[in-house]
Subunit: 504 residues, 2 copies
């Protein structure tokens, strides 16, 4: 496999940008090419865009872009893996150079989102999740919130302890973003501001979610040696729906991508100097730093509180501000992370230490299609502490069709959220719960009232038009039920009197 | 570069298929894998889909597919280049094996279209063309028709001669399709049926256009030697809009893709035994066989009439029935061609000759993103007649923004069509013309009446809300104009009398 080097990087300022997507690409490409004519020795262009069809009503974006760049003729194609499309485009560009098909390629990634209403954007973004979960009103934040609640319970965190952790991630990333001239938010946030921000889906607040953003990023990959090289790159996928998952507090797609990337680079988590990870939701940064092997499972939140992941910590996470503060033009983010990491490694960004090895991690959908990339300065010292995590065993999930499988009339809440920003057709607050029914199957259900929910609560279930609804069993219902059970057992017991009665 | 072999192929029957897209993928994948479990040694999946976002309202299709196949964990990504997406997915899969990143990959491509109305499908398909041309009401068939009229004029073909050629392509491909159990149309068509089919956009009739289709195809690529190998693969792009083109009767994207594929394979057009080409419109088959170097420019139509491209001709073109008769699930077609070619080369399809080397050509959009793939049996004789066409010079088109450039008030028709199947908001018949204005710029304009049009006609132009309208100059207007010109010249001439008058 031929070595793949970074030939240049570029990026627009993220935020609200009135220009068309192809103009954003033009700017980012121009910077990455460093003034050289685009057609000057670029053999192909790989473009990551998540959903130009619905965000801007355009398809054939590869041809549109190559045309706008003014070098029709050059091969160009679009790559898509939901919100990790930018990382996917980098990976295909990497393979193009590694295969020696091409000597120099331009990787672009971008998205235009801010011109749409939040409800439209939420609907388009929700298309990446499982159809049957969507039918209940589930959105990306809703499912992320359910994962967060599960994480809180698994690691025995109090509500306020979890809140402190999430707040710490948000504050750290905003603080970092304030030093990044290309970030959407260039200001720190206070703890009060965090606590005053509204709930999107409990326990996630507005300040736990990445914003809606326009932006584009560009990376030139080349087979000619430069001072920066991609030494490892890996991809992994995971089950689409929440109800098909065996684990909620760790993402198999990240584990697989990381194992592949570490193995290719011949390094382990301890060799990484800093990382840009996919913090579309603050808890995802915590989970991801655990999945990447930086911290033990359940210890990622503590690491943030201890300042370990701060800009001057032992392992800075999202020094650029992350998706949270830099902004999240969905298709662009996976490549923007690489642009930021390259700038840091090249020393374009002033830092006390001179990092030699950076890692980027991008998440597609609800962690269904993730990427990990390892970037190294060519003068990096050899890896010291090789302890790469092993590739997790392949999931053997068989997708269960809720609509065709049996559903019992009762179940237990596995995790839940109350959604305050609902998709069109659903009124807030909307209670949603992942319920394990009596047959052991998980299913997504919508609450019939706004009862206080908690994990482990028993619920009644009913199905209307393919959508499951749940009601929490009250204390009285539970007593009644216990009594009825006892009564039925008594009735079912064969007694002399009964038998006699039957005979008469 | 590591050699890339075909490990298996599969394909659904094309046509109307009620199953969801992922189910089509499952069937095609199952066949290509020959009964082996999908996760059995497949390192990654590359998926070509053109527009699942708008056709089926789903995004994140790579994760959805990997999930439905039952092997979450395996890397999967979606590749898109409009209607050549299937070929693009094959190309990225090829690079994955060639780079030794992976040893065995599954390439899938598919589309679901028949559940939508023709007008919705037409609108979605039209998104691939230039935005400003779309504003005039232009659709894919409209632009293809304009190219056809230009071809007719360039090669001095009478209307009936052109019609005979197009009819011959349609009849040949339907005849071939009748022998293909997986084709959408399994019947030949008569000359009368062709002539009785309605105009979609003059001179193109319904039988000149590929149908709307559901279907999926699958190809397993492997680094382990098999009896079939991809020896050449190439991609090329071309200007998006018709008005930015220097040539209309040849596609630079095909020329570039073919030059690259021939060069990689070390063969020339004369070494090819048969080809599957992108006949979404019958004239495109003719143009493409010329661009591929099979026939001289302007001679492709004659070759069809002479039977050279028939199943028993010297160079069978579209022996499977082509897009015309096999059907055209847009994202799938580029890969379905490869599946068909592989079956023919492997001898799964009975044929008098035993072809050793086949070529497939796929067209994205209005020939803006094209691919050429060369497949060889490993027992193929060495290439005899190496005469690969050279790579065309890179186009240096700078996209002209109609909305910002000057438009004169007059122009000359460069080519035209009358559109009978119009997009929503436009009433048929709709006259459309590509007009060269007095400044030499080409622009798309909508006819204000349904005058008989021809190339070279002079027209008046006016602009309303960014859309150009044209009216053909009448004979009287031309005489009036000539007179006015003469009169003005006389008036402008300085004469003693005038000067005297001025001074008084």
């Amino acid at each position: 496999m031929h070595a793949v080097y970074i030939g240049g990087v570029g990026m627009t300022k993220f935020g609200k940008d009135a220009r068309p997507l192809v103009e954003l690409f033009k700017q980012a490409a121009g910077e990455a090419l460093g003034g050289a004519t685009p057609s000057d020795g670029i053999d192909a262009v790989y473009i990551g865009v998540m959903n130009c069809e619905e965000f801007i009503g355009e398809s054939n974006i590869a041809s549109q872009t190559i045309d706008a760049l003014g070098f029709a003729g050059t091969p160009a194609l679009r790559v898509e893996t939901a919100s990790s499309a930018g990382a996917a485009a980098l990976f295909t560009g990497f393979q193009a150079i590694a295969s020696e098909c091409y000597r120099r390629v331009l990787v672009l990634a971008g998205e235009k989102m801010t011109h749409l209403s939040t409800s439209t954007t939420t609907r388009v973004l929700a298309e990446v999740i499982d159809q049957e979960e969507r039918l209940c009103g589930a959105t990306m934040p809703a499912l992320a919130a359910m994962i967060t609640e599960k994480y809180r319970r698994k690691y025995h965190l109090s509500h306020s302890r979890l809140q402190n952790m999430l707040c710490a991630v948000a504050m750290k990333n905003h603080l970092n973003g304030a030093q990044n001239p290309l970030a959407q938010f260039q200001h720190g946030i206070t703890r009060d501001a965090y606590l005053n921000s509204k709930f999107v889906a409990t326990p996630l607040r507005l300040y736990d979610c990445a914003p809606i953003t326009d932006g584009a990023a560009a990376v030139v990959l080349t087979c000619d040696k430069t001072d920066l090289r991609i030494t490892g790159i890996g991809q992994g996928t995971g089950p689409l729906s929440l109800r098909d998952r065996e684990t909620f507090t760790s993402f198999p797609a990240t584990l697989a991508a990381a194992a592949r990337a570490y193995q290719m680079a011949g390094v382990g988590p301890k060799d990484i100097d800093f990382a840009e990870v996919h913090d579309a939701f603050t808890p995802f940064e915590i989970i991801t730093t655990e999945d990447l092997g930086f911290f033990p499972a359940g210890k990622g939140g503590e690491a943030v509180l201890d300042g370990k992941t701060a800009l001057d910590g032992v392992l800075p996470i999202n020094p650029s501000g992350g998706l949270k503060a830099r902004g999240h033009p969905v298709g662009a983010s996976g490549l923007a992370q690489v642009v930021e990491a390259c700038k840091r490694l090249k020393g374009d960004i002033a830092s006390k230490r001179s990092p030699k090895r950076g890692l980027t991690q991008s998440t597609g959908g609800l962690a269904t299609n993730n990427f990990v990339t390892i970037l190294e300065r060519t003068d990096a010292p050899p890896a010291q502490k090789l302890a790469a995590p092993a590739l997790p065993p392949a999931a053997t999930t068989q997708r269960r069709k809720l609509s065709t499988s049996r559903v019992s009339e009762e179940g237990v809440i596995e995790t839940f959220t109350t959604l305050y920003v609902t998709p069109d057709g659903f009124l807030p607050p909307l209670a949603l719960a992942l319920v394990r029914d009596r047959y052991g199957s998980l299913l997504m259900a919508q609450g019939e009232d706004d009862t206080q929910l908690k994990i482990g609560q028993e619920v009644f279930l009913r199905r209307v038009d393919g959508v499951c609804f749940f009601t929490v069993k009250s204390q009285i219902q539970k007593v009644q039920e216990a009594f009825m059970k006892l009564f039925r057992r008594k009735e079912a017991m064969p007694s002399k009197d009964n038998r006699g009665g039957d005979q008469s």
